[in-house]
């Protein structure tokens, strides 16, 4: 067991982990931050996406020890300080960008990373950026639409809700 220390959603945290403990396991099981989901074992689905030092990372594909000293952001830290939904979260609700909600934390974190780098992505850029995040419910239509809307683009022209 090794001691690991990091900042998660702005708070200093630490814990004892095995060498093989994944960051996703550390977040879910040690810190109780169960908003980060695990949907696969081959780093393909993106349900576990978090930000490590500002970059989108699949937390199932990183050891907790590798994040020692890092600043980690998860879905639990995304809402505005007053608890209201941030612009991306609000757009997902407004445009019905989620159904079962299982892929959603990863989608929101992936979208946040995209918009930081590319504030007005095209539809094709969004689809390309999301190719590491699987959703089985929405057919992606409303996810792409929500991200376009969150970036301030007019989505009225996009077919049906």
């Amino acid at each position: 067991m090794t001691q690991v220390t990091m900042t998660v959603n702005g708070k200093a945290v630490s814990g004892e982990v095995e060498g093989r403990t994944l960051l996703s396991t550390f977040l879910r099981e040690h810190l109780g931050l169960t908003g980060t989901h695990v949907g696969c074992d081959t780093a393909q689905c993106g349900a576990c996406t978090v930000h490590v030092d500002g970059k989108a990372v699949k937390s199932c594909n990183m050891l907790a020890l590798e994040a020692d000293g890092a600043s980690v952001d998860t879905i639990e830290g995304q809402a505005n300080p007053d608890g209201s939904l941030n612009a991306i979260q609000a757009a997902f609700q407004e445009h019905h960008g989620l159904q079962c909600g299982f892929c959603t934390p990863g989608m929101v974190m992936a979208a946040a990373a995209l918009l930081k780098e590319n504030p007005k992505p095209t539809e094709a850029e969004i689809r390309h950026h999301l190719s590491g995040n699987l959703c089985r419910c929405t057919g992606y239509h409303n996810i792409v639409k929500a991200i376009m809307a969150a970036s301030g683009q007019d989505v009225a022209a996009v077919a049906a809700e």
Partner: protein, 787 residues
């Protein structure tokens, strides 16, 4: 102006707040005090005789609490099958035993052999690796036709063969259909495969068993679409726990698509082991385990013949299908290729004679059961592909051939035992032609051709049957369950309402849409209504959510219970207003006396019911809570017309979806936003089936597509924005809301549109390709072009 509340409005989903902030409560998010973890040691061979399972070293590993094998389950029941099909000779299907842990033999890769319970998941996994197995590998059967040959290895030694059943429908029509096909002016024949799929909800399955020795009560937390069904099957048939001592909770569930209907071994194991060990026992599937243990879908091999007369009227359809059951019968597996498939073979068309033959076959593969659409996508795909082929052979327009044969008068009794109550197939086709801009297709094709691409347009129709019912009929067809739904409407003293429903939401948004119905009926704000579901301890016995049944059956139960509430509330209001009950009207949450200005508010009536100081106690009981069980008179029959445009790159065979349009008739709509989302998701899965997804076994029964590296899921850049429309509405005639259900339509209607479009594209380039099996991968397209 769209409505802003009640039926037909699109309020934003209330469940989104927790899902968007990471505050959902999925089964894997639950951790109980003192919880232990189980790891299943699974077979890595498809077929084998278990000589020895030596757990002695593993038992000494750190943290191990106990290791279970098949022997521990000898006095315990097996996993039951919920549907018995009778074959065409009047005999019951062959029904093998399905032990919780393998006994004597393993029958598919992933079959559980031993279960290690330990203090941590890692310790359980490490110890499982120390179990020494002596398994004698036996020849496996994978191909269905080979499995039926004389001398083929038998999946179950105690059965006479690998044939589960040979079903004929309608058996009395067999000779007449043969005759009609012999005498037809034209017969189009098509052989095709409906590819094996894995449902792949993004949340893998999880089960946590818990036992309270003080009360002798067991609780199972599980990723289920229907907790009451699991309680009944597991309690009564597997573990022998009476229902009042067994609680099943299915909290937030991350998608199901059918795969979470069924009762699985891991659920029974965790409940059993928790009682033995007096500690909670948790299992969380890895995605690899999901591929090896979740029931798979589809896997039909079919020959279909369509007979037409000289005027191109359809005169007969004959089909012969082999349907894979896998190694054991999953909960509803036998019903899928039979009653959910044969009954839909008329589609949207007047075909007087139909005969469907299905041979269900055991193989050394994972059990196959319902996946979104279940039987109906298989029926639709055959029919809509063969019609397209017939149109090409006859040189007629595929839309006109369909229109010529559309059913136009309702109710319509098909020759395959069902009666469509309502529909308007010309209207959905007209709407499709408009929203897909079919008129503009030639110009778009010319533009693609300028870029060296082949462009194709594929059209198809579909008919769905939702809300499978009524119970007395399905009982005759072999169902071992009723198919009603329940709701309890509990009005609180200050007027707020809690609805306890037997339906289950795992993405469908019931917490938002169900209150819209109640709010509309009473005339109160939706925020006054809360939905409770997913826990057998606080909901009435219900059958859960699958087969697009939630609003049509569960919604109807809720309406019936609310009607009872309103009737009783009117009696109370009449008393308070000193008027006759017949004169009481309810509008906008106010009870008033017709023709007067006397009225009393909803909240005051509710308060009177619970503080009955001024109350007709001699006539009615205090309180305001009602339950209804609704058993539908018939299925509902959503229908629609879909169009897909593809581009094919002739150099590589790669298919790109350029556009997809869907015109559906779902009857009345409660929440258009949610309905659109359901259609989008179904189309996404249908495009996945048509272009990408394939569950593949090698000839030894090894599962080759057991991860997202090998099983191609549709991704955001594989699909376009979809155009969806549900303005054509012929309300269902036999349920109180006039609703039909929308959950599966997209998955049923979309695969034939995609394949029809690919064939159209290739034909436009001069390639004489009649059919390509799904998934229509670049390799398959290229091979077909250069055949």
């Amino acid at each position: 102006m769209p409505k802003d509340h009640g039926i037909g409005a699109s309020p934003k989903r209330r469940e989104d707040l927790r899902f968007l902030t990471g505050a959902g409560n999925y089964t894997d998010d639950i951790n109980l005090n003192g919880q232990a973890y189980v790891h299943f040691l699974r077979s890595d061979v498809a077929h084998g005789k278990i000589n020895k399972v030596d757990t002695s070293d593993a038992e000494k590993m750190p943290g191990v609490l106990r290791i279970f094998t098949g022997a521990d389950f000898e006095g315990v029941g097996g996993l039951p099958c919920g549907w018995q099909v009778t074959d065409r000779f009047g005999q019951p299907m062959q029904e093998p035993a399905h032990p919780v842990l393998a006994q004597g033999k393993v029958r598919h890769v992933g079959d559980p052999i031993a279960a290690v319970v330990a203090e941590t998941p890692e310790q359980a996994r490490d110890a499982a690796e120390a179990i020494v197995l002596d398994i004698e590998e036996l020849p496996a059967v994978v191909d269905m036709k080979a499995a039926l040959e004389d001398g083929a290895p038998k999946v179950h030694d105690d059965l006479t063969s690998n044939l589960c059943y040979d079903w004929g429908f309608v058996e009395e029509n067999r000779e007449a259909v043969d005759e009609a096909i012999k005498n037809a002016a034209h017969v189009t024949t098509l052989e095709l495969v409906n590819n094996r799929l894995v449902a792949n909800p993004m949340e893998p399955r999880v089960a946590i068993g818990d036992y309270n020795p003080a009360t002798d009560e067991s609780t199972l937390y599980t990723t289920s679409q229907n907790p009451h069904v699991i309680r009944l099957l597991m309690g009564a048939f597997v573990l022998g726990i009476p229902e009042h001592k067994l609680r099943v909770v299915a909290p937030d569930v991350g998608g199901g698509f059918g795969s979470k209907i069924f009762h699985y071994a891991e659920e029974a194991f965790c409940t059993f082991a928790a009682k033995q060990l007096k500690r909670p026992v948790k299992w969380t599937a890895t995605r690899s385990e999901a591929f090896m243990t979740d029931a798979h879908g589809r896997d039909h091999v079919t020959k279909i013949e369509l007979a037409l007369d000289a005027d191109h009227n359809f005169t007969a359809i004959r089909t012969e299908t082999h349907a894979n059951m896998g190694a054991y019968l999953s909960t509803f597996a036998p019903s899928v290729p039979t009653w959910l498939h044969g009954t839909l073979m008329a589609g949207n068309y007047r075909t007087p004679l139909i005969y469907v033959n299905v041979k269900a076959v055991f193989t050394n593969t994972v059990p196959v059961d319902a996946y979104r659409g279940a039987g109906r996508p298989e029926a639709t795909f055959q029919l809509e592909r063969v019609i397209d082929k017939a149109a090409r052979e006859l040189g007629v327009d595929p839309i006109e051939l369909r229109r010529k044969n559309f059913i136009t008068e309702f109710p319509y009794a098909t020759p395959v035992a069902v009666e469509y109550d309502t529909g308007n197939y010309h209207a959905t086709m007209d709407k499709l032609i408009e929203i897909a801009d079919i008129a503009g297709f030639p110009a778009r094709r010319a533009e693609s051709e300028k870029r060296g691409k082949l462009r194709g347009l594929g059209i198809n129709c579909y008919i769905e049957a939702c809300g499978i019912a009524p119970s007395n009929l399905v009982g005759q067809l072999g169902a071992r369950a009723g198919l009603y739904e329940s709701a309890t409407v509990r009005v609180n003293a200050t007027g707020g309402i809690v609805v306890m429903t037997g339906s289950h939401s795992h993405g469908q948004g019931h917490e938002t849409s169900f209150p819209q119905v109640i709010a509309e009926m009473i005339g109160i704000d939706e925020s006054m209504v809360e939905i409770v579901h997913g826990d057998t301890a606080n909901t009435p016995m219900g059958m859960g959510t699958y087969g697009s049944r939630s609003i049509a059956v569960g919604g109807s139960a809720m309406v019936r219970a609310t009607e009872k509430i309103i009737n009783k509330a009117k009696k109370i209001a009449a008393h308070l207003l000193e008027a006759s009950e017949a004169d009481i009207e309810l509008k906008d949450g106010q009870f008033s006396v017709a023709g007067t200005d006397k009225s009393v508010a909803w909240g005051d009536v509710c308060l009177a019911a619970y503080v009955p100081h001024n109350y007709p106690l001699e006539d009615i009981e205090p309180g305001l809570e009602e339950t209804a069980f609704y058993d539908p008179a018939n299925f509902t029959y959503p229908s629609g017309a879909y169009a897909c445009e593809v581009e094919v790159d002739p150099d590589t065979g790669k298919v790109t979806i350029e556009s997809f349009a869907a015109a559906d008739d779902f009857g009345n709509i409660i929440n258009p936003m949610i309905v659109d989302g359901q259609v989008h998701g179904g189309i996404g899965q249908g495009i996945g089936q048509a272009l990408l997804e394939n569950c593949v076994y090698d000839e030894n029964g090894q599962l080759l597509s057991a991860s997202y590296m090998d099983y191609a899921m549709p991704r955001a850049d594989d699909v376009p924005f979809y155009k969806v429309d549900h303005s054509c509405q012929t309300p269902c005639t036999h349920n109180p809301l006039g609703v039909k259900g929308c959950g599966e339509a997209g998955a049923i209607g979309s695969p034939p549109a995609v394949v029809n479009a690919v064939i159209d594209a290739l034909q436009s380039g001069g390639y004489k390709v009649d059919h390509i099996d799904m998934p229509v991968s670049p390799a398959r397209v290229w091979a077909a072009m250069h055949g």
